[in-house]
């Protein structure tokens, strides 16, 4: 359980004192009048679901994002952080959730990269000894500082990222989901490093979904929900259930909803056998039936999205036996997979989904132009009527038909995107990655309804999600994944939130932190 608090910790003046921080992204309020303080020598956990506001706070503290309002005091001095360099000068080092390593550079170069105190003149390999020491401390004995980061495995990269933060000798070390892609031994190394840091009187902000880690490592925890700060408590006062209660607001009872379509069809429509997606996923098996909604629940790096991308034909070297309605699908080409009846909706809505500058109408019909074309000409009437049909299905105002998608809210953008992917008559298998990422609560409900309707029409739906709520709310069958492998497959009505959370965050090692459900 939580460490005993160091004497004087509660009374020492806070190193970081943030008051009334508010941040909006368009219509979404990511942080709403949040206050937060960090004391010297503590490991402070930030807890909450995806979208609760933790990452936004972290970005503000590290100068990547500027708040709309609020004050930030560091070491008693009010500061405005415009750039990551300024945050660094104030002693903040960040390990971002998204890796900020440059694959084309070597390990050593990456560790030195962006360090404002690194000298102008450098010798190649000049800091090799120091680098070596940090790497060794993180259990990376086998990694040479001259290795290119592009040649490292994902877990190793994560540790390099941590090594960089450690090398900066910062007053505050922010670790945003540092362990999502790590193995147990690797996690142990991270823990040791964190303990060393705080032993020197420095502080660590630790963002994690993994409650066991929080209980084991952290002194205090601040819990966030829907962009608001709920509470800050000493971890020693809390147990796992208490944390979950604070995070969820209340503990939802399982089986609020029956697995609607669990028994909808007798014939398996989609079988996946021995799917491998280099470099992470091995031996993935799954059978999905029409009408069924299957969740692939797992953290970033679990392999869930890789499975979807492979099934969509977007991974050239993915292999495995996939058949839809008895017809075999050869992976590796989006065209072939679409022709076989798969539809994929990427989680990266802006980068890989929508055509932002174009109208709602064109976005809605973008993938079905072949069917709407005669003699090479797009039949405008038909296209318009299909678009009208779809815009009605997703419940948007028809007046917005000609609006560029870029000017819509995130929720509406996602509806347009999914509207395009759902309702494909030919489709048999819907692959949805993070279907409600960046969508507010209202939009989320509507999108979930859309997915259910699609399933009711007989499509098999597989979605990948990192969000517990979404998994529990939407799925008939839950497949939890960790580190590229399936942990467990169980029907929704038998699943509890604690169990799923446990599987997603601990993989097979749930006993490690002693918090088996």
């Amino acid at each position: 359980m939580g460490r005993a608090l160091q004497p004087g910790l509660m009374t020492a003046p806070p190193f970081i004192d943030a008051r009334g921080i508010t941040k909006r992204y368009g219509p979404i309020t990511a942080l709403d009048d949040v206050s937060f303080e960090l004391r010297p020598g503590e490991v402070h956990a930030l807890l909450g679901h995806n979208g609760a506001g933790k990452s936004t706070l972290v970005k503000i503290l590290s100068g990547l994002v500027r708040p709309v309002s609020g004050t930030l005091t560091m070491a008693g001095e009010e500061v405005t952080l415009r750039t990551p360099q300024q945050a660094q000068q104030h002693g903040v080092a960040l390990v971002d959730q998204e890796l900020s390593l440059v694959p084309a550079l070597t390990v050593e170069e990456n560790i030195l990269l962006g360090n404002v105190e690194s000298p102008f003149l450098q010798r190649p390999g000049g800091s090799r000894a120091a680098t070596r020491e940090i790497l060794d401390g993180l259990g990376l004995r086998h990694v040479a500082p001259s290795t290119h980061v592009r040649d490292l495995a994902i877990g190793e990269r994560q540790l390099i990222e941590i090594a960089r933060a450690l090398s900066r000798d910062a007053r505050v070390l922010i670790l945003d989901e540092p362990t999502a892609t790590l193995s147990d031994t690797e996690i142990e190394h991270v823990f040791r490093a964190v303990r060393q840091v705080v032993a020197q009187g420095r502080s660590v902000i630790y963002v994690s979904h993994r409650l066991g880690e929080v209980l084991e490592l952290c002194d205090r925890a601040s819990i966030f929900r829907d962009g608001r700060h709920v509470e800050t408590r000493a971890v020693s006062e809390l147990d796992r259930r208490g944390l979950i209660e604070l995070m969820l607001g209340d503990v939802p009872e399982p089986s609020q909803r029956d697995g609607l379509h669990e028994d909808a069809g007798e014939v398996a429509t989609v079988t996946i056998r021995n799917l491998s997606v280099p470099p992470r996923v091995q031996g993935f098996d799954l059978t999905a039936r029409g009408g069924q909604i299957i969740a692939l629940a797992g953290q970033i790096g679990s392999g869930a999205s890789e499975v979807l991308r492979a099934l969509a034909g977007l991974v050239p070297d993915a292999q495995g036996d996939v058949s839809i309605n008895g017809k075999d699908v050869r992976l590796g080409s989006p065209r072939r997979c679409v022709d076989a009846g798969t539809v994929y909706a990427s989680g990266d809505r802006k980068g890989e989904g929508l055509f932002l500058g174009h109208s709602v109408q064109l976005n809605l019909v973008a993938t079905r132009l072949p069917a709407l074309t005669r003699w090479g000409l797009v039949r405008r009437g038909a296209a318009a009527s299909v678009a009208r049909q779809l815009i009605d299905v997703i419940g948007m105002d028809r007046k917005r038909m000609r609006t560029p998608v870029v000017s819509l809210s995130g929720g509406n953008q996602q509806k347009v995107f999914l509207g395009r992917c759902l309702e494909q008559h030919a489709a048999e298998l819907l692959l949805l990655e993070e279907p409600t990422r960046g969508v507010d609560v209202g939009g989320r409900m509507e999108i979930h309804d859309l997915v259910r309707v699609a399933a009711a029409h007989g499509n098999a739906v597989i979605f990948a999600s990192t969000e517990l709520d979404e998994v529990l709310d939407l799925a008939d069958t839950i497949v939890t994944m960790h580190a590229g492998r399936v942990v467990r497959t169980l029907p929704r009505r038998l699943a509890t939130s604690a169990e799923i959370l446990g599987d997603m965050t601990h993989g097979n090692s749930e006993s490690r932190a002693g918090v088996a459900a």
Partner: protein
């Protein structure tokens, strides 16, 4: 994570990649020596000198372009600045060559800073910006030079720049070599090299890591323009002439040399020394053409083919394309082991 076991092939691949430009240069040297003899001619030390003269002019332009490519951008205006640099040096350096050189370099600095600021701060694609810049500089060069080639009366400047040093060098080519040495050292022994490669490799990651991305970008464009202006000024003094339009030949040379030097268009990779190797290779090739008296159309076929070939090899999706082709042609043979006796292996697919 068996990175220990995999280390060796990776190292080999890396070594092959970084040493390719030098291997090509070695091959070129062999060809340079052998090919003339096959047609009853010979390559002399003077030919090496002459190649280095060409390197002195266009190698610097290649370096200018190459640095922006390493940083993940593309400076089409190098050839415009090359022209303007030569015109300014000739027009303002009549009394003092150094003054003319200084003015050319300052103009380069200014142009680079302006273009760099627009590109970095407004985050506009460098291609259209530098294309506009190219046209503008070209117009400016012609306007300053009254649409005419301008002669530089002080021939002694050029002849001292071009006098032979150590058989194969001239003062001018030594300046170019010196610039390459300085840039190589700076890329290797200061944090600049790392930062330039970082912003070319992954700009978002670099920003997050704390690299002053905008400042670096502006600096790279400034350096690119200054180097182009330097190349222009030196060649102008050497020819004792500045022309109102340098044509596209310097740009084509620079692009080919940079690609031969192993710089990829995706950015993040490349070294000044390798660019030098690429530029020297190409200079030797041009000299080889001239030793053999190759007709223009043959040399343009060869250089065009070379450019397309290098681009194909450097294309980002080549591997992926090849894999796709292979799976389409050969079907699942490659995956037979994992497929086992499942029905997928026997079905030939949907066509």
């Amino acid at each position: 994570m068996s990175s220990v076991a995999l280390k060796d092939p990776r190292r080999t691949r890396e070594l092959a990649r970084t040493s390719a430009p030098f291997l090509i240069l070695a091959l070129m040297l062999v060809a340079f020596y052998v090919l003339p003899q096959l047609s009853g001619r010979e390559a002399t030390v003077f030919n090496v000198f002459n190649s280095m003269q060409n390197f002195a002019a266009l190698g610097l332009v290649a370096l200018a372009l190459g640095l922006t490519m390493i940083a993940g951008e593309f400076d089409l205006s190098v050839v415009g600045m090359y022209g303007l640099g030569s015109m300014l040096a000739v027009m303002t350096g009549k009394d003092s060559a150094l003054l003319g050189l200084g003015i050319a370099l300052l103009a380069g600095l200014f142009v680079g800073l302006v273009q760099g600021t627009i590109i970095a701060k407004l985050r506009i694609n460098s291609m259209p910006v530098t294309l506009g810049g190219y046209l503008l500089l070209l117009g400016l060069t012609a306007t300053i030079g009254h649409d005419d080639s301008q002669s530089y009366p002080n021939l002694s400047v050029g002849s001292s720049l071009d006098s032979v040093v150590a058989q194969i060098f001239s003062l001018r080519s030594l300046v170019a070599v010196g610039v390459f040495v300085v840039v190589t050292l700076a890329m290797r022994y200061t944090r600049l090299g790392r930062d330039i490669r970082a912003i070319g490799g992954d700009r978002r990651a670099s920003r997050t890591a704390g690299v002053p991305v905008d400042r670096m970008l502006i600096g790279v464009f400034a350096l690119s323009s200054v180097l182009s202006a330097l190349a222009g000024a030196l060649i102008a003094y050497s020819l004792a002439t500045a022309t109102p339009d340098p044509g596209l030949a310097p740009l084509i040379f620079a692009i080919t040399a940079v690609l031969l030097g192993g710089v990829t268009l995706a950015g993040g990779q490349g070294a000044a020394l390798a660019i030098a190797a690429g530029a020297i290779t190409l200079s030797l090739l041009q000299e080889l053409f001239s030793i053999l008296g190759t007709p223009t159309y043959v040399s343009s076929l060869i250089t065009g083919g070379l450019l397309v070939l290098v681009t194909i090899i450097a294309a980002p999706d080549l591997k992926q394309w090849w894999r796709t082709v292979r799976t389409r042609r050969g079907g699942p043979t490659a995956s037979a082991a994992s497929v086992g006796s499942s029905p997928a292996a026997t079905v030939t697919g949907e066509r």
